[in-house]
Symmetry: C2
Subunit: 274 residues, 2 copies
């Protein structure tokens, strides 16, 4: 199912600023039992992103309803929302009185091997770096060429994800996931004030850590911190948490922090594939 | 007129990677007397951009013909080409066997005041910075949120352009134009190996400078270099060259280097509005 501004339709305007400039945001939600998971968190992040880009925020009740309609077509699946600044004239200046475009569409559940949650995944380091711009950092905006280029670096299906450094050499995230590092008794995740996407699952994990009394911090992470880590794991709304069992040549084991958080997420019913 | 893969059509696939990721390139050409100007240079740049992004390059003869068909509808106007990696599955990995999407559309000539070429323009400094990523630098790709945000900083129609610094403080370009600086007897333009768009008109001006024996260089430009400049001017394929007559509070005059290059461009018939 595909809804464009609430109407079933096949095509997007060739004048849409999402296409011309990547002038918009997106959300990717897991669907289980025909219901979108973590919907409130996704809608909140979209609202916050609109505020930062100066895009008129969506009417939440309308968008929520459209997401529910599209999600209802899938027992298990994915709903993606694209929310752009709408049609624009030629030129970068947003047109006066412009109205955003909202696109809601569904996808089949990705065929990730089911054992990744338990056994963990193989991960590589990407050569493609992330540029730093605090003005865009953290946003799930539509300017994603860096991720496309990084994800193009490998085709081996055994490699589940690639980690990206920023131009200054700090470790930031995976191409489609956020990174958590357990070391020195603390749960660390890269600070995203200069680049990266602040994932909904990442936010939930940080909240859970707080509730569970696990010491956690958003901080600068260096490549050496990965070498010293006792656990590494990845998060996003579809995968939940994947422990890293191999990073390049280094072998790791799924550890107790990841296991505890996985159990907590499972108990809260926010995983598509528990 | 709007051609999508050669067919007159109103809509773009909602699955296009141009929309989802800004995974593509664009070109903006001036049209005069129903003919696109500097067509070879635009096609070459597009080919080079495709090579850098790993997108299958367009069949040049086909694209050239489509551009000519669309341009023929305008006495004076603009043709824009969007060239994307095509439809994609969900996820950043480019699908195997994917085929690019080419979109060719026209716009009316922008209603720039006609005296800008002679009298010059007012320019401001933007607060929005450009992130540095050598992997994307120079490309006219579809990830243009920084330009959108920079261009949103002002609405005064008297201000023709805003200059952007990179995150390290170097002067790079305008939101929609490249910058030339005349100082110490030399023509300078910011080096674009870390960020920025290598404009077709910029390339032509550098070639002309070489032919005319004007000492010219692509180099790092600091804000102080602007203060010391005897001339500043802006370039793009639509405007040709606009001298800067005021940058923030500083007044300047159109100078001999800009005048000589304008005359040369006029003589070569590459300006839409001579």
């Amino acid at each position: 199912v595909l809804l464009i501004d609430g109407e079933p339709d096949g095509g997007v305007s060739a004048l849409d600023r999402g296409l011309h400039y990547g002038d918009g945001l997106f959300e990717t939600l897991a669907v289980r039992d025909r219901r979108p998971l973590l919907l409130d968190r996704h809608l909140s992040r979209l609202q916050a992103g609109c505020a930062r880009l100066g895009i008129e925020a969506p009417a939440t009740a309308v968008l929520r309803r459209e997401i529910e309609v599209v999600a209802a077509t899938r027992e298990l699946g994915v709903v993606k929302i694209l929310f752009t600044r709408g049609r624009g004239g030629r030129g970068y200046a947003p047109p006066e009185g412009g109205r955003p475009t909202r696109i809601v569409l569904d996808y089949p559940w990705p065929d990730y091997p089911r054992d990744r949650t338990d056994r963990g995944v193989r991960v590589r380091m990407c050569a493609t770096r992330l540029a730093c711009n605090p003005r865009l950092a953290g946003l799930k905006h539509l300017n994603r060429l860096e991720q496309v280029l990084a994800r193009s670096e490998w085709t081996d299906p055994e490699v589940a994800e690639g980690l990206m450094l920023d131009l200054e050499g700090a470790v930031v995230e995976g191409t489609m996931s956020n990174l958590f590092v357990v070391g020195g008794g603390r749960l660390l995740t890269p600070d995203l004030s200069r680049c990266g996407v602040a994932g909904v699952m990442r936010g939930l994990v940080l909240d859970l850590a707080h509730e569970l009394g696990l010491p956690a911090a958003q901080t600068r992470v260096e490549a050496q911190d990965l070498d010293r880590a006792s656990e590494l794991f990845l998060s996003n709304s579809l995968i939940g948490l994947w422990p890293v069992r191999r990073l390049e040549e280094r072998a790791l084991e799924p550890g107790p922090v990841c296991r505890r958080l996985q159990a907590e997420l499972r108990a809260r019913g926010v995983l598509a594939v528990p």
